[in-house]
């Protein structure tokens, strides 16, 4: 097993040292990658989980290779940015390919297998998801398939680690035989390939008929549930129920965690850990500005615990518990099909709903995940809508904490407001961005009960990412907040910001700290408001401004990477201007009735 190493560019890895992990989307490639390299790759039960590539060390015999988890592709004629990455890898050549086949849908998978075979790269095939195939009454004669493909075929159930050792043994034998990787047909030969396409499909069909034996099997509970979840009736009712359940898990579970454990430990008002640090520093640091920076009301050792661990962490944890389950079960594509008609009216297709829901966790993977979209216009429209109207889960946690102290209607009102903005932004950006949006064409995967180990591992990765990726910017924001508040600098800035904060937005002028910290992290545009003595209207306006406010630095960076600086700048500046304009408008209108 290897340790993860830094991301290298595709061209930095010698083709003779790399082994490509390829296959159709959603056949379990990332699970193989995790099992073979020890690097935890996020895997889910829907098309487009891997839209970029990961790589890790794979020792075979006395040599170390680089295993590359290539985005899933249906063929070597790409139909999205993600598929284009896969085709480029094949074009660059490799020492060997591990081609993952879905045993429950062999014919379509064989089409890619046959295309890859033309590339003259040694291939070992894995016949994965054999358990699903059995559930559906499909039996595959893998020995016969081996003869048909002229290469080894290993039956596997990757999530249960079944067949992994056999795969490694086969790779060792194969790479020891002096194969040379030489791709001569795949570069600049799309014309030739398209001429052969019909023949490939026909061959795949014939092979599939010869090697597969299908017996009549009664649909199981999950099959029936999966079908019902997909049909308009009762699918839409089930979708509403599932979403309500997810909200219940996040809000209810998050609040319970806070009340039972986290506030007792990390509250600024007598939390055990916070009090420990207060007493510790008070014992050797003299009273004054420095002690205040450490343990004052806005002290680093107070708000870093309260904001990050008591305020945000419980909601992040509960969200990923619910969302990861939905991802692994294969439910998300069903939602995108059910609501495609509504999404089309907003100018995007139903598949974008998956990225929108991902944005509820974090906008960064959501924007990267939109690479699975087939047109650039769709990517820009959905990314803009996510930046404007979809709060990340950290921000949602902070908003929940803010609104909990006021009226019950505040959070639902904010959700409705967010939906309204989502619709408006989608419609306007759909008009402004040139290009087209392709109609929905999506495969609906089998409904599965998530594998316990894979699910637990994924949850662990996500929480590690939360602490690792968010730690530095959150701590930077905490230190900045402590310095601003405890040195008196905040009072000076607040004086200058008074016309905007107090007269237009109706907020206390010290709330300007939320706008400053919000640039670093989205939730930090809410957290400082909790320490202020706000009225109900001020809390609502503050929440609205935060919801619409600038995407955090990480999101800005990913926007630049994916769409260039101009589009990133347009989205970012628009969010700032519109957040302050709309927040002020809400305040001014409300003032007329108060």
């Amino acid at each position: 097993m290897s340790k993860p190493h830094k991301h290298k560019h595709r061209h930095e890895i010698n083709p003779q040292d790399r082994i490509l992990l390829m296959g159709n989307p959603n056949v379990g490639k990332s699970v193989f990658f995790t099992e073979l390299t020890g690097i935890h790759a996020i895997s889910s039960n829907y098309v487009g989980t891997t839209v970029s590539y990961m790589h890790g060390h794979l020792p075979i015999g006395d040599k170390e290779y680089t295993l590359i988890d290539v985005p899933g592709t249906y063929s070597l004629s790409p139909s999205s940015d993600a598929e284009a990455v896969a085709v480029k890898f094949v074009g660059d050549g490799a020492k060997a390919v591990i081609c993952v086949l879905d045993a429950s849908n062999l014919e379509r998978n064989l089409a890619l297998a046959l295309e890859l075979r033309q590339c003259n790269i040694p291939i070992v095939y894995t016949l994965n998801l054999t358990d699903i195939a059995e559930r559906r009454g499909i039996e595959v004669n893998h020995k016969l398939l081996e003869q048909e493909l002229g290469a080894p075929v290993i039956p596997t159930v990757a999530v249960k680690k079944s067949g992994i050792n056999e795969l490694l043994d086969t790779l060792r034998d194969m790479l020891g035989e002096g194969y040379e990787a030489s791709c001569k047909k795949c570069q600049d030969c799309s014309k030739e390939r398209s001429m052969e396409q019909k023949e490939i499909w026909e061959t795949a069909k014939q092979i599939s008929r010869r090697v597969c034996k299908k017996t009549m099997s009664k649909p199981g509970f999950l099959d029936k549930l999966g079908e019902n979840m997909t049909k308009p009736f009762p699918g839409i009712f089930i979708a509403v129920l599932v979403m309500a359940l997810l909200i219940g898990v996040v809000v209810g579970g998050g609040r319970a965690l806070r009340a039972l454990f986290l506030l007792r430990l990390f509250s600024s008002d007598g939390g055990i850990v916070v009090e420990f640090f207060r007493n510790l520093f008070a014992s050797f640091v003299p009273e004054g500005v420095f002690l205040n920076i450490l343990t004052g009301d806005f002290g680093i050792f107070v708000i870093s615990f309260e904001w990050i661990l008591a305020l945000i962490f419980p909601y992040v944890l509960m969200f990923y518990i619910g969302f990861s389950f939905l991802e692994d079960s294969g439910y998300l594509p069903r939602i995108s099909v059910l609501f495609d008609n509504i999404m089309r009216k907003l100018g995007v297709q139903g598949g974008s709903l998956i990225h929108t829901l991902m944005g509820l966790g974090c906008a960064v993977p959501a924007i990267i995940g939109s690479r699975a979209a087939t047109t650039r216009k769709e990517r820009i429209v959905i990314s803009a809508a996510i930046c404007f109207a979809i709060p990340c889960i950290s921000q949602t946690g902070a908003l929940l904490s803010l609104t909990a102290a006021f009226s019950w209607w505040m959070m639902p009102a904010m959700v409705l407001f967010g939906l309204f903005i989502f619709v408006v932004v989608s419609l306007i950006s759909g008009k402004l961005v040139k290009g087209k949006v392709d109609p929905l064409i999506i495969e609906v995967p089998n409904l599965l009960m998530p594998d316990r180990k894979a699910y637990g591992r994924k949850l662990l990765i996500r929480m590690k990412h939360f602490f690792k990726d968010a730690e530095i910017p959150m701590m930077a924001a905490v230190v900045l907040a402590a310095l601003l508040a405890e040195t008196g600098a905040l009072n000076v800035i607040a004086r200058y910001a008074e016309p905007l904060m107090s007269r237009w937005l109706g907020m206390p002028s010290e709330a300007v700290v939320a706008l400053i910290l919000g640039i670093v992290r989205r939730e930090m545009s809410v957290a400082p408001l909790l320490a202020l003595d706000l009225t109900t209207l001020q809390a609502f306006v503050g929440g609205i401004v935060s919801l619409l406010y600038i995407p955090c630095l990480s999101v800005f960076a990913i926007l630049v990477k994916e769409f260039k600086l101009r589009i990133a700048a347009v989205i970012t500046v628009s969010t700032i201007v519109i957040a302050i304009f709309v927040g002020g408008l809400v305040n001014q209108i409300a003032q007329l009735f108060i």
Binding site: Y74, S104, R108, Q197, T230, N341, Q349, P439, I441
Partner: protein, 86 residues
């Protein structure tokens, strides 16, 4: 062929042979290509997609605009006269 019908208007739960499909790589890669057999599972209201089971194997949703361009004929077992629409 007189009995040809578009996928968008095909009857639910009926089995059809695909006669012609628009020139879309993704559609063909998912198995919806001339000569394939599919069962229509359901149509979604308000201009939503059509859900089909391809070759008794994969479940695929096809947006209305594309479904309107996919020509089908009732399943007969004869799949010789098939063509691609440019």
């Amino acid at each position: 062929m007189a009995s040809e019908i578009s996928l968008h208007k095909a009857k639910t739960n009926n089995i059809y042979n695909v006669v012609a499909v628009p020139e879309m790589e993704l559609l063909k890669s998912l198995g919806i290509r001339a000569g394939a057999t599919l069962r229509v599972i359901c149509h979604y209201p308000l201009g939503g997609p059509t859900l089909v089971c391809v070759e008794d194997c994969a479940t695929v949703a096809v947006g209305k605009d594309v479904a309107s361009l996919v020509s089908l004929a009732p399943e007969t077992g004869d799949t010789d006269s098939v063509e691609d629409v440019a």
